[in-house]
Amino acid sequence: MAENKESQSKQQEEPRIGVYICHCGLNIAGSLDCADVAKFAGTLPHVVLAQDNRYTCSDQGQAGIKKDIKEHKLNRVVVASCSPRLHEPTFRKACEEAGLNKYLFEMANIREHCSWVHLHDREAATEKAKDLVKMAVAKAALLQPAEEAEVPITRKALVIGGGVAGIQAALDLADTGYRVYVVEKEPSIGGMMARIDKTFPTMDCSICILAPKMSDVGHHPNIELLTNSEVTEVKGYIGNFHVKVLKKPRYVTKDCSACGECVKVCPIVAPNEFDVGLAIRHGIFTPFAQAVPSTYIVDMNLCLNKEGVIVCDKCIRACERQAIKFEMKPETEEIEVGTIIVATGADVFDPSVLPNYGYGKFPNVITSLEFERLINAGGPSGGHLIRPSDKQIPKRVAFVQCVGSRSDKAGKLYCSNVCCMNTIKDSLLIKEHWPDTEIYVFYIDIRAYGKGFEDLYKRARGEGVVFVRGLPAEIKEDKKTHNLWLIGEDTLKNEVYKIKADMAILSIGLEARKDSEMIQRMLTLSRNQDGFFLEAHPKLRPVDAATGGIFFAGCAESPKDIKDSVTQASAAAARAGILMAKGKVTVEAITPVVFPEKCKACGLCVKVCPYNAITLNKEKKRIEIIQAACGGCGTCAAECAFGALTQSHFTDDQIIGQIDAVTEHDADKKIIAFNCNWCSYAGADFAGVSRMQYPPNVRIIRTMCSGRVAPKFIERAFARGAATVLVSGCHIGDCHYINANYQTQKRVERLWKKMEQSGLNKERLQLLWCSAAEGEKFASKIREMKSTVDKVKPEEIEKAKEVFKKALEGT
């Protein structure tokens, strides 16, 4: 409590606030008037300096702030720019370097929450920006300096995904000496690289260079490999993640010697997913020869032995080691890690959605991935490029580029990054085996930007591969011969082409994993509009997630080739390693502050604390806080009826300051939103990043957890004439603070009852569970509430003011 007194003394000194409005190039300035906002900021209380600049986050932007702190004796700084989830750490650092306690810095999010979501209403956006700045300034005036506590970091890492990126990251960390858990949902690690034949530009055999790394992972004393497993729950925070992993049964134990006798007798046959179905596998199988672990696996969807009844025991008899155990059950392993590397990879585009290319209809139209299996000596055709229709080696082969990439009509807008070079490599492979094959490549642009790429491209041209600019409009098939016609326009010659080919290979793009959203929710990550995970900073923190202690590697973050994946993996490993080497991390000073004189020792806060960080000392009739155990949700402060508890940096005064600022005028047109930092605030960010447009009426107040939102805040908003209030948090069960959002639900429900009893339209108070992935859910909720705002009559506003007037007392 000493700290508290000290801060009170600090409070005495007059706040001198500097406000910086960032243009972020045109990201902000493009849709609102930054100069006007800055001018307005200058008029606000305690503001001694307000300016707008192009990139506040740039070095010179930061230098400016530092200079001003010294010259203008600023003791508070407000930057209005992007999401604090992105740049708060940057600016806090700048303040510290200038000798200002970083807790005296505040941000207004006028990009994700304003300019990007109100692209077409400059005036409203500008007004909203002013409000957001006003709120920030109001809070800033009440900010207090704080010292951060240190928490230990568990020196163990979790790597999600066992592709080449995950493998590299795991090996780097394990070699550094950290314990690493690798979780892979497929039966074997290896990922996409294991399925590719050769790598560009060096043309090495892909599996030949990968297999040794795979077995290193399998045998490394510091690595625990969990295949056929999925991460089902992640709780905790940087340095202290509690992870649940579901280990699905293989029905084959480690005793398996991979002799393959079981496969010979298994009566069940199915397409092998690893070969994209071009080869068959059995009910018991190993996906490919070099699989790690080599332990076989039973596909229970196909196996005849269901519900614990062994109908067919051929494999059991065939297995000398008696390694087949149909008794195996799913197990959940709980692990504690300090850092997490997300290397979940990417899916490939499914071209069957493009009717004009006839994929799925015409047997001789295949994807580049299927090609990799065909040309692979270990593949279904033993390395012979044959046409599915007649198993003949094609004389004329066509490659079609950008299938599912760079298109606003079919597939994704972005360039998938690897397809050009992959096709060039593939064309050379064909030439190598069957030199007189005629090869056509239909493209938009050839992107051979990387080291050695251009040479490879030249070589392909040299070998007579014909590059035709202009994708085919359609592919036709000769029903009898199954030969193909590719018809389109050559945009260089400006003439229509109709080229016959025995086989067409669709160079399919990469897209975000279908299950990315699950990972996003569990780890409270952000994604860009293409669905790939969003790094903390595109330039300066390219492998960090916004959430501390989490890093990205490989295609999970964006499409990239093997080299880049490996590079990023090593980078992620290094970043995680730094944290774990330090062994401790400072946590934000957002723990509770107690005012003993007000405490009645009722023990309500003790009950609601998810971390049992509060104890009730019955003799002394007071509560005690265990700072280290506190997660910083603030739900205790929200629960205390006597104002004996508050959360530092999110104090009652500060939040009420924000509420009062925003409700000063036009309150009856506004939606006061309380968003939790981890899910719903990130969700609102996601809406911004995805440029989802919604009405400008909403003003978001950020709390760490929706559990911090005390009823009195909501009541005060209504008492000051707000039209509507939104309380938004993580989904029940996904709460970043274990279960603090149960309290949110209880409190809102209590208020609804109160509103009903006092004849208020309870629709004016909304509760929204919104994950970081649900930008659209947030946007549509705002649209919905806008219509409520329009419906609310003045007398209803007045009535609410009356009902909740007690909320105006105190503070």
């Binding site: 397409p271 179905g277 071009l278 899916d347 299927e370």
Partner: protein, 97 residues
């Protein structure tokens, strides 16, 4: 693996399809129906005929469905059904030549 499978396997001919003979000792059957109920391939069904014990013994719906898992043999309380694997034609040919 997430990709949807669009092409038939190239090596599907190479898979030996087990050929089996299902032997029914009809008059031993007491008609419990276990073989019919638990055949994973539904290769059996109750016949209309009435055997020496006055019950309907099973009949083979489609022998090609049978993959010789042998469960009927193992679960029959009356030793009234068993399956033997026919030698694969190809092998036979090899054997002959």
């Amino acid at each position: 693996m997430p990709e949807r499978i669009r092409h038939a396997a190239l090596d599907k001919e190479t898979i030996k399809q087990v050929k089996t003979e299902i032997h029914l000792i009809k008059d031993e059957c007491k008609g419990c129906g276990y073989c019919i109920e638990y055949c994973p391939r539904n290769a059996l069904e109750e016949s209309d005929e009435i055997n020496a014990r006055g019950v309907h013994p099973p009949k083979v719906v489609d022998e090609s469905k049978c993959i010789n898992c042998g469960f009927c043999t193992a679960v029959c309380p009356d030793f009234a059904i068993f399956v033997v694997e026919k030698p694969n034609e190809k092998d036979e040919k090899h054997a002959k030549s």
